[in-house]
Symmetry: none
Subunit: 197 residues, 4 copies
DNA sequence: TATGAATGAGGTTTCATTCAT
DNA sequence: CATGAATGAAACCTCATTCAT
């Protein structure tokens, strides 16, 4: 039907705008991102975004919804996957350390911001960053039992590991000659017990 | 004397405003920081900052000047101090991991920003973030020779270590129940060769 | 009595401030004049003017009152003085062309301004710049009869002469190397019939 | 073509804003002119000027550029034109005494101002108000030789004549019932030797 | 639907006025 | 009385949003 085609086109546009917005939000921050930057990145005119989104706020809200979903999925994945704690942490780490993973940066910016749209605040309650930490805490505790992970308060280890990882993602935006992200095993040295030879 | 007392008061005020501004800049970013936030944080009226600083830009510029000096000092310190590479890295790490160390966060924001005041751009040329990395690279290379540090491209290790550390500082602003920064030795697991038992 | 001495001191201060204000108003215009400029010119602190005048507006109002009085006096003088029309115009011209005659410049600025304090507006009604022109018109008409002045509509001649003169006063503020005001006889060439030889 | 039409519209708007600004600057002075006055005069919203000019300063700078060009042209004109000194001065005088000639008033305000944008200061160096005076001085000297002009220091005569003329332009803004500018020959009485009969 | 010009609320800065010392 | 630091309303400027084409 006609409508389907129309809807399809409309969805394409929305995705195009969201992709552009995510990139700019991640690079410039929530306030540093101007609507005309999003428009330029999406190669559309200044006014067009408003046919697809009510406001800058709405774009942000949708992006955060996706980010939360992505994050929840990532944690569901490692909760449910088979394998040793080390393998689970490696999977999670690789998930986060993707070159084009802007969602985690966005989440971080959102958590740092203080004046958020109400709807975003509501969304964040469904996310409970503590849940992420608790999941990882459980895995680490298990790994400690099996002797794979270093000793220490598992919750603290989880928080330190996650914040290091997310911080690293954030910092990668700085333009340093020849910089590339480390691989998962480098970061995992923080919590994995060294191989006794 | 009168003059001394006046000058003293003036300097106190300037410091008060800079302290407030540093805190807000670190939390909200360069653009996200509004002058009225600085004023509120410093508990003064909106207009008063302008008796002490020509503009928001001038406040930022002074803060960055201090941040660069602090960073340069930290690296000079570990370059000149006696001791093993491990001890040097531990000193540097502790220097960075101070609860109230907003300067590194500010530096990071400055390096991420795209439209900086000219004077700040000039200042940054005197800083050369590469210098920081090179200093650490040399120490790591030496530590690799003496077997203290893990193998791998020393420059890459330096960059990864520094960005993890700075990212961690940045992320600590997020309000997580019971979160405190890790100590130096936790982070140093990233590059220090484990003690063979 | 004590009070007399106090009042005397108070009046001195008021004069000092008014002198300073007149100078600055004439140089910088009504809006261009900042209260701190007046204070600096009067060599007093920023706040002190407010012990002697309710506001910037009040200072201006008093200055204009004086300017109007001065202008009225000048015209009364030439109306009543004995002598030929030429001598009367010369007296008036010299009155205006005084190096330190800021009052005429102030009057002009006031007449150009559009947002004036109400009280000033009231004052201006007592001045009626037309009165000045009418006085001069009468003198010129008389001088035309006696053959001293050039032909033409006497009112127009009066307006042109006065505006040239006042404009000249205004322009003298421009810093031109070696500039000094012309004397009365130069300006009077505009309306005085040349001496037949 | 599309682009041409767009550019054309843009230029029209810029001209509209400049016209409005010139009128207001001439009437209210550099500091007395508020952006909202320009907007109201141009019948546009407060923010729109900023799509066409970076700042109030830029508007002023462009206007001054034009004023300087106009002034330079006027003096080039009389330098190069054939004719007697009297005819040259008449041409110049008529050039200045145009009802809608706000440029000379603007120039005067600029020369009176004390805090000018840097670029304007640079521009003024290309203008050298002394050049204007020197040009006129030369013409007057020549006219004195041929007996057309009155005796006296030609440079002084030039300065007095010009300042009277410009001051007159400035003063015309005052709203006097039935006032109109004099013609060139009236003003030229200041320096032209009277016709002996 | 798509454009980009236009609007106006909000952030930055200035300065008349007040107030603690 | 005198000072100059402090205040806050108003001016300059930016940018999210609307609207004419």
């Amino acid at each position: 039907m006609m409508t389907d085609s129309k809807d399809h086109l409309r969805d394409e546009r929305r995705e195009q705008i969201k992709r552009a917005a995510l990139k700019v939000f991640a690079q410039r921050g929530l306030i540093g991102t101007k609507m005309n930057m999003i428009a330029r990145e999406a190669q559309i005119s200044d006014g067009l975004s408003y046919r697809y989104f009510k406001s800058k706020e709405e774009i942000l809200t949708e992006l955060i919804k996706e980010a939360i979903e992505g994050s929840n999925e990532a944690f569901a994945l490692i909760t449910n996957m088979p394998g040793s704690p080390i393998e689970k942490v490696r999977t999670l780490t690789n998930e986060i350390l993707q070159e084009d993973n802007h969602h985690f940066i966005l989440m971080q910016q959102v958590m740092l911001a203080d004046e958020l749209p109400n709807e975003v605040v509501e969304l964040l309650k469904t996310h409970d960053s503590a849940a992420m930490i608790n999941t990882l805490t459980a895995i680490i505790a298990k790994g400690q039992h099996s002797g794979e992970f270093v000793e220490g308060n598992p919750k603290e280890l989880a928080m330190w590991y996650l914040t290091s990882l997310v911080g690293l993602m954030n910092i990668q935006k700085i333009d340093i000659e020849g910089y590339q992200l480390p691989d998962a095993d480098f970061m995992m040295r923080l919590i994995v017990k060294p191989n006794p030879i």
